[in-house]
Symmetry: D2
Amino acid sequence: MYKGFKIKQPFFEIGPKAYCDGEETISLAKVADEASAKYDVQIILTPQYTDIPFIAREAKNLLIFAQHMDSLTIGRGLGSVLPEAVKFAGAVGVMLNHSEKRVSLAELNQAIKRADEVGLATIVCADTIEEAIAIAYLNPNIIVVEQPELIGTGQTSDPDYFKRAIAAVHSVNPEIEVLTAAGISSAMDVYKVIKDGAVATGSSSAIFKAEDPAAMIVDMIKAVRQAWDETHL
Amino acid sequence: MYKGFKIKQPFFEIGPKAYCDGEETISLAKVADEASAKYDVQIILTPQYTDIPFIAREAKNLLIFAQHMDSLTIGRGLGSVLPEAVKFAGAVGVMLNHSEKRVSLAELNQAIKRADEVGLATIVCADTIEEAIAIAYLNPNIIVVEQPELIGTGQTSDPDYFKRAIAAVHSVNPEIEVLTAAGISSAMDVYKVIKDGAVATGSSSAIFKAEDPAAMIVDMIKAVRQAWDETHL
Amino acid sequence: MYKGFKIKQPFFEIGPKAYCDGEETISLAKVADEASAKYDVQIILTPQYTDIPFIAREAKNLLIFAQHMDSLTIGRGLGSVLPEAVKFAGAVGVMLNHSEKRVSLAELNQAIKRADEVGLATIVCADTIEEAIAIAYLNPNIIVVEQPELIGTGQTSDPDYFKRAIAAVHSVNPEIEVLTAAGISSAMDVYKVIKDGAVATGSSSAIFKAEDPAAMIVDMIKAVRQAWDETHL
Amino acid sequence: MYKGFKIKQPFFEIGPKAYCDGEETISLAKVADEASAKYDVQIILTPQYTDIPFIAREAKNLLIFAQHMDSLTIGRGLGSVLPEAVKFAGAVGVMLNHSEKRVSLAELNQAIKRADEVGLATIVCADTIEEAIAIAYLNPNIIVVEQPELIGTGQTSDPDYFKRAIAAVHSVNPEIEVLTAAGISSAMDVYKVIKDGAVATGSSSAIFKAEDPAAMIVDMIKAVRQAWDETHL
């Protein structure tokens, strides 16, 4: 866990994956940056590696994370993503072990240590609660618990599921933040998930395949705030 | 083969791999950029993904290539390197199938087609002459023939070897450029290789592990020009 | 190309993949073994690694191939498939680079050489005709040209396609056998493909998902013989 | 954890990796089989996949484990190692996540569940104590804690290290057996490690690169028994 990283609840992750890049990502990043300020919701954005410097120059509020990085140290390793390079580009963190980019347990362990070393926060993905507990022992900043069978179904996890996920991770280390995702297809889903007790959620395809991705981002961030205030004020 | 890409003999590839990044790479890129102009030697530089935008902003003469990219199209695929993103960042080409980042034949075939489609040149690595011929059928812009057993030995390929490599590739397609590498450890090696008939070569560890990488770059590029002029004028 | 391997046209590949194993594969192997003798059609069977010894003990006519092997030599490499072990178990060959088990070009090159060395035939898969030509330069015994977009569609390649595939491979080396596959879903498909000029074809899911796999094997082998005799006698 | 699997302390793992196969492995397996009976030390042997049926036919006492398997279920997946096939061949368990054959956390989780389902014990490798704890949450039968930096050094872990490893795993689940390895290069090392508190250890290169592997196996198993009796009687 990189101690230099702070994030405030509620927060939200926007995942461009390979859905968009360049001008489109930069433009949506600006929208997200403003929504973050307006609704006081911290946003983690995970753009393509090469888009990081462009967004870092523009964004004031976004928390830019790389989609992945390798644990390698300075040296050989052509085609790898060097932690120092990610940091230099303006990222404040890195996502690891997403279901589309699995890494071995040993590599995950080393990559988290490398992130701590160079000063990058880590957001690590788990498919199941037992995997989330296992990952908690490797001490990342944030764990995403995402039921892969719900991805793209438009069906969100039930409240009990993410309450158990949060409790399980906190039984190992209460400082680790838990983001519960999968199945978010609308601002209404976002609202529901936060009302049901999540402190953070996120979206990828629902934003980037929307007719108006910018509007979807604003609606989702607004929904986070509204649900949070109704629950926590 | 991306037809929009032109390169003039002799040329030289500088491979930072994961040896350096950020300020150091940017600074060495400037040195290479000037050496390229001064000695009229085109230079392919393959920085870390996230360093591409920084170098693209500074360099006037360098040919910036990504170290790798995936063949995927717009869509899912977190952690992948999207061809469009590489292009947007300012790269003019991409390296594929380096011995530290192998891809399958089918992926290589598709990545070359994707590069052609988005407008990126391709430099593809082969371990042996028979692999170089096989790759020539996939029609990249440049093939690197590198005897892996010589890497890091300070022993360069014998002249006969790269003459055969060039002839073999050209028997398939004479438009494909052939870069012969491996074992380059000094400006003298560069000189020798070009004198012996190579039209392009390159270096990685010999530059980045040198006491003075900037001086090594200048010396090597100067050696390319000198050897070329002695042989071709 | 392992010169100790001979195969006679027409031939047929049966691919159990992970569809079946143990008693079921052994029992179907016996059926295939008898059909091979009865219809004078050589059959390549690619069982699970651990099933090879069981089938080798029973079969008199089948050509048993491993589904994959690694190019590694005696030494470290836990979890790898050692060529010598495959040979010892009773396989006469190995499949390489199937679309479900891609290998890099360098690994493919080395694995073919290792197969030659230990005395195993090689059947290498290609997605496209250009990949088939590339592979032909690596000199395997057999190349499978399979249009992946047809797999599981019940639509077979058009006759022109596999005539071009065969011609392309033979332009490099006329000793390499060419098996054209994809889209075979019935004995009628097998008949059609051979009538249209193929010298070999194969099936996987159509056999192992059939209600009666044993009957399907017999019908397909019979169809090979019938189509072949109508075309070649 | 496959409940049908029982193992008695002290036990020992012999890892042929790709060091040997066929007749040599079968012959050494017989030696190990007899040593197991004579010294009442259970032995886990992890031969090449294709060697499993041969050894299963001969051995009376050995616990045969596959070097790896995939979590896939009956269906596609050419080149994979199907759990059912491993079981059919006569293995009673499977090794997972060795440093030479890493798997992702999600794959590891699923493979352990598949092993439980088909009735195979699991021995899972960890590089560090924190990884061992993480793996313990996935509930395998046995965890190997192996300091990779000691592999091949002839220097064994210090006693404190494996006491901490055992305690850490047992804090999660006391039913999981812990094998501590790395650096075993002689029967004397085996003796020392058991005297120092290990309940199980193992060897690979020290056996298979020995002048007389059969003698080395006997000496090591004998050392296990002697050290155990001196400590536990």
